[in-house]
């Protein structure tokens, strides 16, 4: 499979890996000598900071995709293997194909990032090497392992079919374990820069490297990135499917990519719902590490960044729900649930507006005098965390309700206890919403140190609701009566633009969060330890950051389009010369 394309991918992967390893394994003493000559060098025209920023973000985007996509690809492959439905196997292969195409670009961008650090930030790199040198070996070895496993997984798809499928699935699982290990190692470097640990007052490593790796923000970022990678992989795969849907020339092709887009969005949405919880944990650990850093992040010069973030996440919520509602139109029997759409839209819209309400308004002096300050006398109440935490939890609950309704759109339970089951489900929703609102309102009447703890109760209430509802829903609709097969391919074309909107928005959001993660260190390479004394030590304003993020996102999508187009060339060639494209994918199904 894919023999012709293999020839050019192998050398690029190997070159990137060998170069990475060669640079990573350069003796620390040599790097130190280099650092003595210059702490910084200037990158031509755009400056070193911008060069590192752009390449790092591009590398992160690609890495997130190639680490996230295989996680759900292998799950889909397992579903296909256990159910015997070939369309799942086709879909898993399609997802891995996208991953595979982006693999070498990720490695090359990683190598380029390393060159930039070594060349333009030698003192910083020397210091990081003095702490993390042993992990470079681990990273390089893991990268080799990941490369060979993913190659075997992809190229062995036909070879390891039938009775040997379990070996193939095992390779997929193994590639994900190794990929996650790579993520964890790289995260230890990034998080050490934010919340250094395991060092003495002079900044030298005290004890083993594990103490530096296991810093305050390491595990929260590991989990946050792992979940975010799945969301990102899902949105990119869904956007790819949307593009193929819009370009499709046959109903069969349209049906196939409609289904692929749905699965991609489902994966993204399922992971997205729990992402804010990982975000809470990360935020709490940042406060635990250093209150000043936490307060600077949320209430200092970065406070407006969270308004932009709120808008982006609000769009993701609205877009995901809108896609589900549009999707229900191609499901016979879904008419029963359309009456729920207006109230859900109302909750999402009001929640969006409250979440995006700033605490301090940008006003003229006269307006400030009229209001009695920069806080609006009424809207100001919605600009605080009590209100924002409340609405985001309600939005998560609403999105979950959308999903539950979509899931049962063409199904009628035949269980005798269906009324009781549904009653308990509704009670779970109402109880969770009541807990969320209660602690949201109560939060206005207590000190901040108490209020911070309330978000935990709100999150637990929502998670409990999700667990209870699904625990009832799965058995309740097992063996359900169908009201008709989903008419794949008949969804409104505007739904596909929603999928593209979600992919673009999430990619832009990743860029914004990358800026936030880096920006909270302010003028420190390693917070409180290694100061940034370069001319670029200023942390730029949001407008400048937005310009950079947009350019990086445009470049990312241009590269992704080009890479997928290249992958498609091979597909066209094979379609002419060998087997026909998998046609089973769009078989009428209820899922």
């Amino acid at each position: 499979m894919n023999g012709p394309t293999m020839a050019w991918r192998w050398p690029s992967i190997l070159v990137a890996t060998v170069l990475t390893a060669a640079l990573a394994w350069a003796p620390p003493a040599g790097a130190e000598e280099a650092a003595r000559e210059a702490a910084y060098r200037a990158f031509p025209l755009i400056g070193s900071r911008l060069a590192v920023w752009a390449v790092a973000q591009l590398h992160l985007n690609f890495a997130a995709f190639i680490l996230g996509c295989p996680i759900f690809a292998v799950i889909i492959e397992i579903i296909g293997w256990r159910t015997g439905e070939e369309r799942y196997d086709w879909l898993a292969h399609e997802f891995v194909k996208l991953t595979f195409a982006a693999f070498s670009t990720t490695a090359l961008l990683g190598a380029l990032l390393l060159f930039l650090f070594v060349g333009y930030y030698p003192r910083f790199w020397t210091y990081m090497t003095s702490i993390f040198f042993p992990t470079y070996w681990v990273y390089a070895l893991l990268f080799f392992a990941e490369t060979f496993i993913v190659y075997l997984w992809y190229y062995g798809w036909d070879w390891l079919a039938g009775s040997r499928k379990w070996i193939h699935v095992g390779l997929g699982v193994l590639s994900n374990l190794v990929g996650t290990a790579i993520l964890f190692v790289a995260n230890s470097w990034v998080t050490f820069m934010i919340s250094p640990a395991g060092i003495d007052e002079s900044g030298a490593l005290r004890g083993g490297v594990w103490a530096a790796m296991n810093n305050f923000t390491w595990m929260p970022i590991n989990i946050h990135r792992l979940i975010a990678n799945i969301v990102f992989g899902g949105t990119i795969a869904a956007a790819y499917a949307a593009f193929r849907f819009l370009s499709a020339e046959t109903d069969e092709e349209r049906a196939r990519y409609d289904w692929m887009g749905y699965v991609g969005n489902f994966v993204a949405l399922a992971a997205f719902i729990v992402l804010p919880f990982a975000g809470y944990w990360l935020g709490r650990e940042i406060y635990a590490f250093n209150q000043t850093m936490g307060i600077t992040m949320m209430g200092g010069f970065m406070s407006w960044l969270w308004i932009v973030q709120a808008i982006l996440i609000g769009i993701l919520f609205l877009g995901s729900n809108y896609y589900l509602w549009l999707g229900m139109e191609r499901i016979p029997g879904s008419e029963r649930y359309r009456r729920f759409v207006p109230p859900m839209l109302l909750v999402l819209t009001v929640g969006f507006m409250i979440w995006a309400t700033p605490r301090s308004m940008v006003v003229t002096l006269d307006e400030a005098r009229a209001m009695g300050g920069t806080h609006h006398p009424f809207l100001g109440f919605f600009g605080v965390m009590s209100a924002k935490n409340t609405v985001v939890n309600l939005m998560i609950l609403t999105t979950f309700l959308s999903f539950v309704l979509y899931r049962r759109a063409n199904r009628e339970s035949v269980r005798p206890w269906v009324r009781t089951g549904m009653g308990v489900q509704w009670a779970a929703f109402l109880a969770a919403a009541a807990v969320v609102v209660f602690y949201g309102v109560y939060g206005y009447f207590v000190e901040s140190i108490v209020r911070i703890g309330f978000s935990v109760y709100q999150v637990l209430a929502v998670l409990a609701c999700i667990v209870v509802v699904m625990a009832i829903d799965i058995p309740m609709f097992r063996g359900a009566r169908s009201t008709g097969a989903i008419r794949w391919g008949t969804i409104a074309p505007r739904s596909q633009y929603v999928l593209i909107l979600l992919a673009v928005t999430f990619t832009w959001l990743m860029g914004l969060m990358g800026f936030a993660r880096s920006g909270i260190r302010q003028h420190w390479h390693v917070y409180g330890v290694l100061r940034d004394t370069s001319p670029d030590a200023v942390t730029p304003a949001l407008g400048y950051a937005a310009n950079v993020i947009t350019v990086v996102t445009v470049v990312f999508f241009a590269l992704v389009t080009f890479i997928f187009w290249l992958g498609g060339l091979g597909e066209k060639g094979r379609a002419r010369h060998s087997r026909p494209a998998a046609a089973a994918a769009a078989g009428g199904s209820r899922s």
Partner: protein, 264 residues
Amino acid sequence: MRLPVGVKVAFFALLVMGTYTYFANSIPQIESRPPQELSLEGGNVTPAQLVRAGEEIFKTKGTCEVCHRIGQKGTRAPDLAGIGARAARTRPGQSAKQYIIESLLQPAAFVVEGYPPIMPAVDRPPIALNRSELWALTAFLQSLGGTVDVTLDDIPKTAAAGAGAAPAEVKLPGDPRAGQAVFAGKGGCVACHVAGKVGAGKVGPDLSQIARIQTPDYIMRKILDPAGMGTVAGYPGGVMPQTFGQTLSAREYTDLVAFLLTLK
């Protein structure tokens, strides 16, 4: 004319990103600039100048305003209105300046009831105020309802030992002994400065503890661009030559810096 799907999708994606970018550019634009080092060592500073410098530190490098308000009750930290008078009564046996200095350097020693113990020692990284800055900040806090009587000698010599210095920075390769010779000889520094037992000049500040109160970065820049780095309060400006970058070799320069970094 029917537009290709690729063009429509690209236009849509650009429109979405353009909207986000426009919005991000239309809201308040705040940069975070690295704090400047303040040096008042050996200078003749009036209390008013000191208070003004302290207020600046309060609002910028000290990041005090993140939690403390003046004249407004905060949820994270006490209101500092009237702290200059209140400080003298808070802990028996402590004067106002002693209490304030202790609060800055050892915040956990006494925590005001009802507030969490979240304040960091401000002479340690990442805030890392130097002795001059601690002096000015204390003066500013005293001025809030009290009398400014703090002197530089009130700030413990052990304070700010690591202030501003990046402990993990790579040590400079220069030879301090050779640097001392440059200081006393080719550099001509002794004409204006004292460095411990070396030199007796009074035209410029006493450098005997310069490594304790200033960062290596400041010292390196100051030699190459004295005017650009500002003049220490109380000393005449424009006296220090701008030509060390040309007259000293790279080796002599690194030796000189290495010598100055030994002055603690």
